[in-house]
Point group: C2
Chain length 421, copies 2
């Protein structure tokens, strides 16, 4: 412990993790439970849309040829021989100068090839028989939605990896997907380490703080789309931790620990990984916060040793664990979405390391602006509460001024970026 | 039926609905289940943060006064009398030129008033006793996080109506909120009407389409934060519908029906509302799609008669039902978030009515751009799948060109607008 740690770049760290083969699995859920899940297969049109020629408006279905002589001076009269609502089919055979009253969405009678909108007709009765007349010429196909006009059977309508929204649910229902193929939620285990930790329902004690990381990380996992198994807190004791981690990793796809990774005397997560026989991918990254993140590869699983510091823990999760989870959710864009924004405040102090500042971004007159969401001290959980983004301040020899263009990572966006570094 | 309907403006319609007194209720959930819920009370700091003076770095706690003579030429030596990790409290009394090795987050020993960072010390042993020396003068308070420095007991940390994110979960845990006061999910009932509707698991039939609205609306309700009760489909039959609606409204806070509101011959939702004794607030709105939306007030409940047309249904829900649900979730900004964006395509045709175009907005070089997400025909569910926004094209005598600044409503944003019209 306290041994030399060589920091690697963020991009190297992300690449090492993403190179590990982690595969998603499909499961089928009821369309009723599909909201917010991720498609594990493309959604195909299982039929033409519409699947029959239909009326897009309320009106009269007729043969266009019969309107050829219509004009302001010469209204053409039609005998109304049937009346059909949406969902019904007329069994009448429509002849010359006959019409079927038809509702929006109803199927076109066979012989008809246009719909005259209600507003362009006059209807009346004579001897108990309904008639209508029109003064306008119609072309064949006018006001008809033809079969397959919106989609052809076999078309890809939504790509796999897409998060299911209400509009996609409408598409799934339209095409009969009562059961929807979605990505099984990756199983992620979680431990919080640290003798200083009290549980949320314990009263404060001198020197101790309540464990906030495990609730925060659980929320982050849920937001990303994982299934969280919380294995509890661990004391700063090597053997207890080793046994607990060894047992837990068998039950999950990934295991996250918070705390126990820094260079302090009582830290030992990296040693546990070594004893386990896991391949440590890196134990230090050139970034702030989160530099002491340790990630290891064990069989077909990944161990994330995040810092016990709330901000470092938060950022470490979003940069390193999120893309693995999203990859297992079939996302082609598994990383946090990166966008350009205008900085709202000065950061006068130069910093050798790339920094991720907890930020609140907003749009003013169509332009993206970013501002810190609180004090940028890494022990402050309050600024995490108001953060919807991380502002990236690349390390270098100068500070940053309000008005500078910077890059930000959006925390609450469902659609990510392919490769942000 | 077919009686004259007078359209009112969108802003009038929204106002009429929002003037109805709909109150949210509080319920308590475990912090573990709080992600994505809406706070029904402000979150207060239940203690100072930190609640004790603490070390923000690994190092040695000493009395600053003892470093007064330190310099490059004159390292000052301290006897290391204790060693404390985070969560532990030293019971040693620290005297002149004595130091306690202290870890990040640990409580400061009483007599100490500064921390010397590890990097600025040299440690060694002599006769089995640990010592350290430093060459730097420290001021009282240097490298100490003082009690109450980040937050004072009683401070409001997060406002009610805020959607709980992972950072807020960290705050809740820090302050001992094992049970979190959240808004009870408003209970919203749902019927789909229409003889033309097949269920999602039924094969297609001539003239019929599958019911997609109820799955779509369920997703919209879930996204907004409501609890959905789906009461099934109703045939286009007055008495059956009347009885079903009368019974269902007693079980929910709001009742949404899709279909049965248009001017077609077989529509009758408004008549049902009248027979029920409900006050019809409006039955037509000057907008496209969604003009035939009918909304009624019945006791302390609201009945939303949305169009059966998928797009009209979708837009009607977002404009009229969403803000009521969000109000019951204590949101100060219950409406869809409105932002300015640059239009990506032409809409050459003038239109007398305000239109809501299903759109995909994105950010390019920090600027918000909006483009239609598909064909803008109101029967096309596919364009809803790709929509993350609605582009507002106010009615008037001219069309719109690519490059025009327009307003858009964001569908996937958790933070809304106070009053968008």
């Amino acid at each position: 412990m306290g041994e030399f740690r060589k920091p690697i770049s963020i991009s190297e760290a992300v690449l090492k993790i993403m190179n590990i083969r982690m595969k998603g699995k499909t499961e089928y859920v009821s369309i009723n439970e599909s909201y917010g899940r991720f498609l594990s297969e493309d959604v195909l049109a299982t039929s033409d849309v519409p699947h029959f020629d239909r009326a897009p408006y309320d009106g009269y279905a007729v043969r266009a040829i019969d309107t050829a002589e219509a004009s302001q001076q010469n209204p053409v009269e039609f005998e109304v021989i049937d009346h059909i609502g949406a969902g019904l089919v007329s069994n009448k055979s429509v002849g010359p100068f006959q019409a079927v009253r038809i509702m929006t969405g109803a199927q076109m009678p066979d012989a008809c090839d246009c719909v005259i909108m209600l507003e362009l007709t006059k209807d009346y009765e004579r001897d108990g028989q309904a008639y209508m007349s029109t003064k306008r010429v119609h072309k064949p196909g006018e006001n008809v939605s033809f079969r397959g006009e919106d989609a052809k059977e076999g078309d890809i309508l939504v790509s796999k990896g897409t998060r299911i929204n209400p509009g996609i649910q409408a598409v799934l229902a339209t095409f009969g997907y009562a059961k929807v193929p979605v990505a099984a939620k990756p199983k992620v285990g979680l431990f919080a380490t640290g003798t200083e930790l009290l549980d949320v329902d314990e009263p404060l004690e001198p020197g101790k703080i309540r464990n906030s990381n495990s609730y925060m990380i659980s929320g982050q996992m849920e937001r990303t789309g994982a299934e969280v198994t919380y294995f509890g807190t661990l004391p700063d004791d090597f053997d207890t931790c080793f046994e607990a981690i060894k047992e837990a990793i068998e039950k999950v796809d990934m295991l996250v620990t918070t705390g126990g990774v820094s260079v302090g005397d009582f830290d030992f997560l990296p040693s546990i990984y070594e004893k386990l026989g896991a391949e440590v991918l890196f134990n230090k990254v050139g970034m702030r916060p989160g530099s002491v993140t340790t990630v290891a590869h064990y069989h077909d699983k990944i161990l994330f040793g995040l810092s016990g510091n709330p901000s470092a823990c938060y950022v470490g999760f979003e940069l390193f664990a999120r893309p693995v989870i999203r990859k297992m959710l079939f996302s082609p864009n598994p990383h946090l979405r990166k966008e350009k924004a205008i900085l709202d405040v000065d950061f006068p102090k130069a910093n050798p390391f790339t920094r991720f500042v907890r930020s609140k971004c907003f749009i003013t007159d169509g332009k993206l602006i970013t501002t810190p969401s609180g004090l940028d001290k890494s022990n402050i959980v309050m600024s995490l509460a108001g953060a919807n983004s991380l502002t990236i301040l690349p390390g270098g020899t100068r500070g940053y001024q309000a008005g500078d263009e910077v890059e930000i990572l959006l925390l609450e966006e469902h659609e990510g970026s392919e490769w942000p570094w």
